[in-house]
């Protein structure tokens, strides 16, 4: 359906916060689900672009979806040029959501760069669950430099502790967020801790090595180029390890975008 842009604001170099109002028939996305967006009527770029949901509100009259995105190519560049009152096509919500555990002791979020967007929506979901009132939310957030730690203030309001890392040391630990996380990993017991991550493939691969051999629950949100977003084109597959139960290839749009980290074949 078409939505109306109420805000499409640059919040840091190359990073935008997009807020779109939609008809109330739009389903409430579960954390980890995504939407396909495109500038309607265009054939270049042709395909929609998948974005993990960053925020969502439902009132009597309308629903509002929020996307936090980084300009990385033609699709996001075109999106960034849309203005208030412009229409944007929004399909979804699509995909498998994160599994959540209100009875968990500690919930740990690990995000790299723009991977912060769907993780923030998940963190907010945990915070909104009455049954999860006692869960401790801890976040590890890495970016190239301080100004690219977009949305960190919101995360600080949701999580009790937020650790950061930057490549240049301009905020928090200097180095990779997985290095920062590995220093604390022993404090997250397998039984009571749940780990969720989203970020560059290299970060997720690194994390898979850190948690390998440990039975801690760890779900990750993967990204791939997509055409349809609904499971038909088979374009967005990732390789699973043998015995993953879903065959060798899994569609990020249907079997994912959320996967158990141990199921991915990193190659």
């Amino acid at each position: 359906m078409n939505g109306k842009i109420v805000k499409n604001q640059q919040i840091s170099a190359g990073h935008f916060l997009l807020r779109v109002t939609l008809a109330e028939s739009f389903k409430t996305p579960m954390p980890g689900q995504f939407v396909m967006m495109r500038d309607p009527g265009r054939i270049d770029p042709l395909l929609g672009r998948p974005f993990g949901v960053y925020g969502f509100e439902r009132s009597q009259e309308e629903v509002t979806v929020e996307i936090l995105y980084k300009v990385v190519g033609k699709g996001t560049l075109v999106l960034s040029r849309l203005r208030e009152s412009d229409f944007v096509e929004v399909l979804g919500p699509y995909g498998r959501a994160f599994d959540t555990y209100p009875e968990a002791g500690k919930v740990v979020f690990i995000c790299g760069g723009i991977g912060v967007a769907p993780i923030t929506y998940l963190a907010q979901h945990y915070r909104s669950l009455a049954a999860a009132r006692d869960v401790e939310l801890i976040c590890y957030y890495g970016a190239s430099k301080a100004e690219n730690l977009v949305g960190i203030e919101k995360l600080k309001r949701i999580c009790s502790r937020v650790f950061t890392s930057t490549d240049d040391g301009s905020h928090g630990f200097q180095g990779l967020i997985t290095e920062r996380f590995s220093a604390d990993i022993s404090s997250y017991a397998a039984g009571s801790s749940k780990i969720y991550a989203c970020g560059p493939r290299s970060m997720l691969k690194e994390l898979s090595e850190l948690v390998a051999g440990n039975s801690v629950f760890c779900q990750i949100l993967m990204e791939e180029r997509m055409a349809c977003g609904i499971g038909a084109c088979l374009g967005c597959t990732v390789l699973l390890k043998d015995g993953g139960g879903r065959g060798e290839h899994a569609r990020v749009c249907m079997e994912g975008p959320v996967f158990n980290i141990g199921d991915i074949h990193w190659g």
Binding site: R38, L46, L47, A227, C228, L234, C236, T237, H249
Partner: protein, 312 residues
């Protein structure tokens, strides 16, 4: 009681369909993916994703790349194999009372023959579309559809084994697509469909690597439409069997161009990825056009292209 709309029914090689809008193989899965987004019962026919004798895992990712006004794909014909198709996919497809056309491909003529036999015996399909855009492993990997003798042989062998209407899907990656079309007509094809994707590629200049793991892929989308239209026009003039137009059809206007130059029906492919209800939107748009032009029967529109119309 019949609706007071224009007649939309067409005959594609003995298969009567209620309107000329079909789904292109590989863009509509096995139907189930689209159930939430459109009324499948309205389609002229469903052409299912291609099946081979044995299951195929397909290519490694990345499998797709967007290019200007189009996309490249190298899925690698991932499919569960003909046995699983008949057992697990076909019963679902049958429930809509829409003709189901199975799309068949193989790496040897024997593969094509065996899959044809199995599908014909299954009694669950209404027609076969034969994808001859794949390499013949017994002939050094030459594409079946690029060699007139091989294209003829596949058509003849498949026709010999089935009573179902047989549509041969042609590749545009040839010097003269009309020659191949004529050859498969001689071989007994009931219809031809064209075009399959155009082979292309795209390079990541920062890393100097291909964007697709398979290096090359098939180009589809609006970028290919003018080429597809030209080929359909040429082939429709050269063969007597029905021609089904495919290539970058995004809306009813695009579909009408194909029908006017001689396509008996059209297939909608990449458009399904952008608009899951593209097919039914196109059916509505064609009907509106016929009403607007006071055409009672779509067959009175097909092939009415006036080549000299713009000459001074």
């Amino acid at each position: 009681m019949k609706n007071a709309g224009p007649e939309m029914q067409v005959d594609i090689g003995g298969l009567i369909i209620k309107n000329p809008v079909l789904t292109a193989s590989g863009t509509f899965g096995y139907g189930s993916e689209y159930v939430p987004y459109l009324d499948i019962t309205r389609l002229g026919a469903i052409i299912a994703k291609g099946v081979s004798l044995e299951p195929r895992a397909g290519n490694k990712p990345p499998r797709i790349m967007e290019t200007p006004c189009g996309m490249l794909n190298a899925i690698g014909l991932e499919n569960p194999g003909v046995h699983a198709f008949i057992k697990e996919k076909l019963p679902f497809l049958r429930q809509f009372s829409v003709p189901v056309i199975a799309n068949v491909f193989g790496e040897t003529i024997d593969d094509f023959k065996r899959v044809t036999e199995l599908l014909s015996e299954s009694k669950g399909v209404d027609g076969l579309e034969i994808n001859i855009s794949c390499p013949n492993v017994k002939k050094g990997g030459i594409i079946f559809g690029s060699d007139p003798d091989m294209a003829h042989a596949v058509t003849r062998e498949v026709k010999r084994l089935t009573d179902l209407p047989v549509i041969i899907k042609l590749t545009p990656n040839v010097t003269d697509i009309c020659l191949i079309a004529e050859t498969v007509e001689e071989g007994g094809a009931d219809a031809v469909s064209l075009i399959n994707t155009l082979t292309g590629m795209s390079v990541d200049i920062e890393r100097r690597i291909p964007h697709l793991a398979n290096v090359t892929g098939g180009l589809s989308g609006p970028a290919v439409k003018p080429i597809a239209l030209r080929m359909v026009w040429q082939v429709a003039k050269r063969v007597k069997i029905p021609v089904i137009g495919i290539g970058g059809i995004m809306n009813a206007s695009d579909a009408l161009e194909f029908l006017i130059v001689g396509a008996r029906a059209v297939q909608i492919g990449t458009a399904n990825f952008i608009n899951p209800s593209a097919t039914t939107d196109i059916i509505d748009g064609i009907e509106d056009y016929l009403k607007r032009h006071n055409i009672d029967d779509i067959n009175d529109l097909i092939g009415t292209f006036d080549e000299e119309g713009n000459a001074c």
